[in-house]
């Protein structure tokens, strides 16, 4: 039932199995829409500036496209004008989505907090996931409204030729995907702040450079790589991906690079941002961990599969190395994420587990820095093992494989250290802020410190160089290079790398063990304090029901 739409509940079907259940759910989406979404739409509809902003944006875009078209058509054939317009329009539309989407979403949750409506909403029992979903739908509707308004202008390039109608349509689909990413990012940022102004500022400070980097790197940069693979795709123009779908040859590379990789790169971050939003909206005593842990658990195999697929499809050690770098960065980020874990489940969470008869698996995925770190270690070992096995089976020469092994081995040992250090730092502090900053400082020192030491000691030019640089994870690339050669410098480099890997692993496991002891001690202290305070509580007197 929805009071907002004035629709009554559907009578329950005779059977709640199979199709009937699905049908009821689909009907429920229309008859009982998300209340937060409905309210956002009602409020937006009353905002007088919305149609004005929409009209001005569309008008300006139209004028801009007409100007570009006019200038381009002076000495170019219509097909080239079409290509010009296509790239200009979708570049601008991407900017609009990448900047406006997060900025608009950034105010959404922060405004509830600053406006004093959050607690009332929280106590309705709607739940953080439903509220986050409503906010997401509200912000997405707003962005999609812009895209719909701009659609006629976006269709102009197709009339000139040079691009097909399908390519225009695909570009809009990809813009929609970018909208989901940008809006979920904005909401995740919004969920961290209580001030809308601050939320917008920080969001834009992150999203503007990130979108420019994505435009230049994934747009302009990757267009050359795409042109190498598929000559039909133009090298240089940024909006190459929609054209690649129609111009690339279909095969395993097509499926891997144009379907699997974009899907993973949009779906996994968007899902992560959504889970971060839900987690930040939940109360500190609630279970804020399980959903993020599930994301991690699913992301591991998906990313590994994508990395393996890329390496196998292209049969190139460079792609395996790229996969290793991707996994390394992901797990590094997850280590940061898990530093925000509480020491253990709250009394509320434990009571909920008891009520619901939660098993060991569910409890393992629940709040607690130690289970989180243990899961990370399992995923690190599992993902790199899978990738290395795939490389061993795929790559033709042992040297290629050894290069992949060098980087993979170093990455695993360093990630063990990072996981152990993050857990140890969390076990010693009250919140997540300090351990994250300390971890960042340690990472900076580990990555850059050895190279600075090498510069200071002047060891660049002599045999000591590997020994000084080996503690830096960047040394893994040096290791990969020397793996291809022979001679005494190879032996020394491998020895230094091996010692560094062994040391990182040993330190990491030691810190992990210390973290376990520290967490147990602090939890015991908390329990003792609670017991001491509650010791004075007399046994509850029985209350008789009246009458």
């Amino acid at each position: 039932m929805s009071a907002q739409t004035g629709t009554a509940s559907l009578p329950p079907p005779e059977s709640m199995r199979g199709l009937a259940r699905v049908r009821l759910r689909v009907a429920g989406l229309f008859r009982d829409p998300n209340p937060v979404w409905m309210r956002e739409l009602r409020a937006s509809a009353r905002l007088q500036r919305t149609p004005v902003v929409l009209a001005v944006t569309t008008g300006m875009m139209t004028l801009l496209i007409c100007s570009v078209g006019g200038l381009a058509s002076i000495d170019s054939e219509p097909a080239k004008v079409g290509v010009w317009l296509y790239h200009t329009f979708f570049s601008l539309a991407f900017t609009l989505v990448a900047w406006m989407g997060p900025a608009m979403a950034a105010t959404s949750i922060a405004a509830e907090r600053s406006g004093g409506t959050w607690e009332a909403l929280e106590l309705t029992g709607l739940g953080a996931p439903a509220i986050a979903r409503g906010k997401l739908l509200g912000a997405l509707t707003y962005v999609v409204m812009y895209l719909v308004m701009l659609a006629p202008v976006g269709g102009l390039p197709f009339l000139f030729g040079g691009v097909t109608a399908l390519e225009v349509l695909l570009a809009f689909v990809l813009l929609g995907a970018a909208s989901i990413l940008s809006v979920t990012f904005g909401l995740a940022m919004s969920s961290m702040f209580s001030s809308p102004a601050l939320a917008i500022l920080v969001t834009l400070l992150v999203s503007i450079p990130a979108s420019i980097a994505a435009y230049l790197g994934l747009g302009v940069g990757l267009s050359f790589a795409a042109n190498n693979l598929w000559h039909g795709v133009l090298a240089g123009p940024p909006v190459w991906l929609p054209t690649a779908y129609t111009r690339a040859d279909f095969g395993i590379e097509y499926v891997t690079l144009l379907v699997l990789v974009p899907a993973v790169f949009v779906a996994l971050p968007a899902w992560l941002f959504h889970e971060i939003t839900v987690s930040n909206m939940a109360a500190p005593s609630d279970d804020r961990s399980t959903r993020l842990r599930v994301w991690t658990l699913v992301t591991g195999p998906f990313l590994t599969a994508t990395a393996v697929a890329c390496g196998v499809a292209l049969n190139d050690d460079a792609w395996f190395v790229a996969g290793e770098i991707g996994l390394f960065c992901t797990w590094l980020f997850v280590a940061f994420l898990f530093t925000g874990e509480p020491l253990g489940p709250s009394a509320r969470v434990q009571a909920a587990w008891q009520r619901e008869g939660a098993g060991a698996g569910r409890r393992f995925l629940g709040p607690g820095v130690m289970p989180a770190s243990a899961l990370l270690l399992i995923l690190v070992f599992g993902s790199f093992a899978a990738l290395l096995v795939a490389a061993w089976l795929t790559l033709k020469t042992p040297d290629d494989y050894q290069g992949v092994l060098a980087i993979g081995g170093y990455a695993v040992s360093f990630l063990v250290f990072v996981t152990g250090f993050a857990a140890w730092a969390r076990a010693r502090s009250r919140g997540a802020g300090v351990p994250r900053i300390v971890l960042l400082g340690v990472l900076f020192l580990a990555f850059v410190g050895p190279w600075i030491a090498m510069a200071i000691t002047g060891a660049f030019m002599d045999d000591r160089a590997p020994l000084v640089a080996a503690p830096s994870p960047l040394y893994a690339f040096e290791l990969r290079k020397v793996m291809l050669g022979t001679g005494p410098e190879r032996t020394l480099a491998v020895f230094a790398g091996g010692v560094a890997c062994f040391s990182w692993t040993l330190i990491g496991l030691g810190l992990f063990a210390m973290a376990g002891v520290g967490v147990e001690r602090r939890r015991a202290e908390e329990r003792a304090l609670k017991a001491k305070l509650e010791a004075s509580i007399p046994p509850e007197a029985p209350h008789a029901e009246p009458g």
């Binding site: 907002q4 009353r46 309705t124 509580i537 029985p542």
Partner: protein
């Protein structure tokens, strides 16, 4: 014993090293309006947030209708209506849309609930108005309406009348009384003590994170009076001063020898013990023992005809600290005693042939209790 609607037992809470609540315990019976009073920083909002399931306490237990607020927050949220201090509203929707939104958010299965709540809270004329255009009082009324949508057993209202003008306060007060009639238990925090004494059946006073006193207002006053009596008795034992019988027990009124001021004008009289100042907090007994503020009371009587002849009739009576006559048959009696005492005074006057028109006890009992039990300490 009936199960309490709210039970707070040995509640402790710490923010890091700062201890904001220390062993707070009280109970609120079903159907009561409980006033929660305390200076700024006393820990009122922390207690309320624990009750509203928004905060897990460091130790102790809070049960709403028998359900532990920390362990089963979802169940508690279904039976409480919580209005936070300075709660905000969605400005760009109408009153009806606001309530419809919350009805959907609560998952209320009937469409008519919003209409019923609008009618109950007398928002019918405003239902089509944008929330942004409402006055503060109306917004507060809307907030209360919002808390009623899911028909909660317990209402937890944090400063519901803050920033409201007198009319809006009266409206909110009347609404609370109406809700009490409907069987709701209301937990109310406020700084406005006179307002609380108008509506509350019992109160709890919090200071420095500790509950200094709780219970029905009259009972607290009685308790404090007894404490002062014990203290006074102890003082007597030590100092061997003569203390009027009025402080030994809340004796019924008995007329004494009429006393007239030296100038013979029977316009006012004050007992030598309380002279020269009859203002609050200044009284002392003949033995020099201070008469506490909680035990000194003022009663306004309006009688038929002139009030001056009545003054000698009351002066010198047991428990009488002073009598003043005013225009229009007004008599202000300063006394020590309880409700029984007032009844005795009225009966004495009536049987003496005095036409008593109105009897108005002074209504600052809660203020006096508050001032006496708190010291202005912050946590």
């Amino acid at each position: 014993m009936t199960k309490p609607a709210i039970s707070v037992r040995h509640l402790w809470h710490r923010y890091g090293a700062l201890e904001v609540l220390r062993d707070v315990s009280f109970e609120v019976a079903p159907g009561e309006i409980f006033g929660f009073i305390g200076p700024n920083g006393a820990g009122k909002t922390t207690t309320i947030r624990v009750m509203a399931t928004l905060l897990e306490p460091t130790a102790g237990r809070v049960e709403i209708d028998g359900i532990d607020a920390a362990l089963d927050p979802d169940a508690v949220r279904r039976i409480i209506g919580y209005m936070p201090d300075h709660a905000g509203v969605y400005e760009r929707i109408t009153v009806r849309e606001f309530l419809e939104f919350f009805a959907d958010a609560y998952g209320i299965p009937e469409l008519g609930v919003v209409d019923a709540v609008i009618e109950l809270t007398e928002l019918t004329k405003l239902e089509g108005r944008l929330v942004a255009t409402l006055s503060k009082g109306m917004k507060q009324r809307l907030q209360i309406a919002r808390t009623l949508l899911h028909d909660p057993k317990v209402l937890v209202l944090d400063e519901p009348a803050s920033d409201l003008d007198p009319r809006a306060r009266i409206e909110v007060r009347d609404l609370l009384l109406e809700l009490r009639e409907l069987g709701k238990t209301i937990f109310l925090s406020s700084h406005i003590l006179t307002e609380l004494s108008d509506v509350c059946t019992s109160v709890g006073i919090l200071e420095g994170g500790q509950l200094v006193v709780s219970g029905p207002i009259g009972e607290i006053a009685q308790r404090l009076a007894s404490q002062h009596e014990s203290r006074a008795a102890a003082d007597r034992a030590v100092t061997r001063v003569d203390v009027p019988a009025t402080l030994e027990a809340p004796a019924p009124f008995a007329p004494g020898t009429p006393q007239l001021p030296s100038d013979g004008a029977a316009t006012s009289w004050a007992s030598p013990a309380a002279a020269p100042d009859l203002g609050p907090g200044a009284g002392v007994t003949a033995g020099g023992v201070a008469i506490p503020e909680t035990t000194r009371k003022r009663l306004k009587l309006r009688v038929l005809g002139e009030s001056q002849p009545i003054v000698p009739m009351l002066a010198g009576g047991s428990g009488v600290l002073g009598v003043e006559a005013g225009p229009g048959g007004l008599i202000v009696l300063n006394y020590v005693g309880g409700d029984q005492y007032v009844a005795e005074v009225v009966r004495y006057l009536v049987t003496s042939g005095v036409g008593v028109v109105t009897v108005e006890p002074e209504r600052n009992e809660l203020e006096r209790i508050f001032l006496e039990v708190t010291r202005g300490e912050l946590t």
